[in-house]
Amino acid sequence: MKAVRVVAIAVLALTALTILGAHYLAPAGYEQQFRETPQASPSIHHLLGTDDLGRDRWSRLLYGMRVSLVLAPLAALFTTVLAGVVGGIAGYFGGWTERGCKLLIDLFLSVPWLFLLITVRAVLPLNVSPEASVTVTFALLGLLGWAASARVICAGAKDLMKSEFVWMARASGFSGFKLIRLHLLPNLRGSLLAQFWISIPVFIIAEANLGALGLGVAEPLPSLGSLLRELQDAVMLRPEPWRLLPLAVLIVVISSFQVLLNKQEVRT
């Protein structure tokens, strides 16, 4: 089991390096068209061939990984902060505040996020810039994904508020802010970190879902999801199996995340 873990860490480290060095590793820009050679086979010039518009697939894969794997952790950070604030408030105050926050959490949990996401994406105008579309997509993922984490944080904060050392601190006159900073945050750090790591693969998959439906990141900007759109003409997969590489990359990265998560034991 340890070997699997080492492999997973190696894969993630390699991915991180690839993302950082995408600018140097990619032979061409992600939007640069080689109009003389569309739909080319793999060669020394184009490692994975070119797509229908003559863009280098290898470069697009590198830049797509950069978009997905940089923005998903950012969205995860956002959602963890949101979950920490709402869950912390619910657990700290209790009573009516907790009931209100729980109601909000239940509401967010029962709304089908995929339907909501495509609704909001449909509100955006058609000629929205790629940068705006990618920001909106990941901001939405962060805004919608916090409910399950908030429930965990709320339970944790509630337990802490009942524990003896918090009673002791309150009895000796700790103010609210100091209590949160000295006792609640350090003790909740483990579950907050766990929620952060759990959210990353979830967001990568969610973006891939949206991208494969054509409702994620707008062209010409690539992402792991929008690269999957090429798989839709299944007839071409047998003569050109290198088209499957984005899918393979997605599966390997998500599996690595899951292997590391399983080992962390803090999974809730």
Binding site: S110, L114, F115, I118, R121, A122, N209, A212, L215
Partner: protein
């Protein structure tokens, strides 16, 4: 109900949660495998910018999810009470 399995209440709760997840992933599956249903309808509506249809579909799916959760909650409670 004395002989019902111990894990049954938890299983029922899991069913309630699974139903909502299952409805949620209708969309990509129906679009990819070209099956006419709520998911594909929503996808077409999103591409045609048909906002009223999209909002209504979201409400319908939310309603279904809430109903599933409610039913599983009630079933779970009835088992717990009859056990005690």
């Amino acid at each position: 109900m004395a002989r019902c399995p111990i894990a049954l209440p938890q299983m029922i709760a899991l069913v309630g949660v699974s139903i909502s997840i299952g409805i949620g992933v209708l969309l990509p599956i129906e679009v990819v495998s070209d099956v006419a249903g709520i998911g594909q309808l929503a996808w077409h509506a999103a591409q045609a910018r048909d906002l009223p249809l999209l909002v209504n579909l979201t409400m319908v799916v939310t309603f279904m999810t809430v109903c599933a959760t409610l039913i599983s909650d009630v079933a779970q409670r009835s088992f717990v009470r009859s056990d005690a």
